[in-house]
């Protein structure tokens, strides 16, 4: 979309977060701490470690009315569920993985490279699949009409990239390090800096959208979206690693982040059929 569209007024931005509260950060922290303590106690009692966020996580106010209250129902995957849509070079131009060359000038901010591999839960590389990212700019502003917080739009940065994973599941984006931004979950709420990632596997049941974070962000303990993952080891899996071997001389700092999708059921069935 064009930056002109951001002129559209969204004066009632509060309606975008009808569940937003005037609660303090301390109140939210206490709620998070209580849920995490209950989780640690359940693991100590033998419950399995969690790998995914809770979808019922009250400190994230918008989740209150938007999570199913009934358990997910078990399904044995049928044919269509064992396959994924195919993407390829027809769909994505190689230059779409460089978010710093989409306009006439250089975007403002810290140029970074984010690279890694997409694997499935059995450690197999997911090759030839679509990977999409979007993010705020170096001022913490999204090119989105609903983001109206008073930080500047960068006319040279849209913040959208796409790529097709390589033969070993590898990807590489060149972009600008995003900044934290305020939101309306509670009073003085700020999101840690993050890049949104959208991923496909070999089975559509592996489809996922997530967020990559940067190491050492002081906002981690305060963020109910990040803390909706109750297990600390699982939370760490969303944090990229600074890698000086990816950093390039006088050009960009580098981060590594590997993504593991859930297990494929198709490869499992194919393996069974071979025996």
């Amino acid at each position: 979309m064009s930056t002109e569209e951001t002129a559209e007024s969204f004066e009632n931005t509060h309606v975008l977060d009808p569940a937003a509260t005037a609660d303090s950060q301390e109140t939210v922290n206490r709620e998070i701490a209580d849920i995490h303590a209950a989780y640690r106690a359940s693991v100590a009692d033998g419950a399995p470690e969690e790998t995914q966020p809770r979808i019922d996580f009250a400190p994230y106010r918008s989740s209150l009315l938007r999570h199913p209250t009934k358990s997910l129902h078990h399904a044995d995957p049928e044919t269509i569920e064992l396959w994924s849509p195919a993407f390829g070079e027809r769909d994505v131009h190689v230059l779409e993985s460089d978010l710093t060359i989409q306009h006439n000038g250089e975007p403002i901010g810290e140029r970074i490279v984010v690279q890694g591999r997409v694997l499935d839960g059995d450690g197999r590389p997911v090759s030839g699949q679509l990977i999409e990212i979007w993010q705020a700019n170096a001022a913490g502003r999204y090119v989105h009409k609903r983001d109206q917080h008073p930080a500047p739009i960068d006319p040279n940065f849209t913040g959208v990239g796409r790529a097709i994973t390589g033969p070993n599941g590898e990807y590489r984006f060149t972009t600008i390090k995003p900044a934290p931004y305020p939101w309306k979950n509670h009073h003085n709420a700020w999101r840690p800096a993050h890049i949104h990632f959208s991923l496909f596997g070999t089975d559509f049941t592996q489809r996922m959208i997530t967020q990559m974070y940067f190491p050492g962000d002081p906002l981690f303990p305060l963020d109910p979206i990040y803390q909706s993952i109750t297990d600390p080891a699982a939370r760490d899996r969303l944090v990229a690693t600074y890698d000086h071997s990816v950093t390039s001389h006088e050009w960009a700092t580098g981060y590594n982040w590997d993504i593991v999708l859930t297990g494929s059921n198709r490869t499992l069935m194919e393996t069974e059929e071979e025996h």
Binding site: S62, L64, A86, D91, G121, H196, T210, R237, N265, L268
Partner: protein, 192 residues
Amino acid sequence: MAQAPELKLAPTPGQTIGPFYGYALPFTDGEKLVDRAHPGAIRLHGTVRDGHGAPIPDSLLEIWQADEHGSIAQETGSLIRDGHTFTGWGRTAVDNVGRYSFTTVNPGPTEEGKAPFIMLTVFARGLLNRLFTRIYLPEDTAALANDPLLSSLPPERRSTLVAVREANGDLRFDISLQGPEETVFLSYPRNA
């Protein structure tokens, strides 16, 4: 299926799609799996609602389905939409009143005697991880009665997975993330 083996690697956690996907993920004609002029074209549409029955205006939906003959496409070009290639996949954001609309075809059964369905994935601001479900076609009542998933559900919940055929041939499928009409959402082996 036999007991699925454990994953070797711990999966990366999902996170909410957030509020600002609108300039990134939707693409031109993403909701058109076929052109409206296609002889078998139907509209698949409905509304996404929250636990109070209020429409959700910031949700993104994707469907993945077989063609009219039950064949699963492995053609690239979904993001191009050349008007000729059926790729079986579509993506759309709901509108300001929570409504969505795809132009597609009725999927055929992927195996003899199986009840045809469209796979649906739901993302939304406020929803911390994606949800999967199935949109069954209502016509083949014998296949629906024999369907293992539907048979494992009580009747009032089963009906949330079966689309309504409208007089003009369109399919209506409403989605409730919570509440008395809560849609049945699915988990699969090895995707916990």
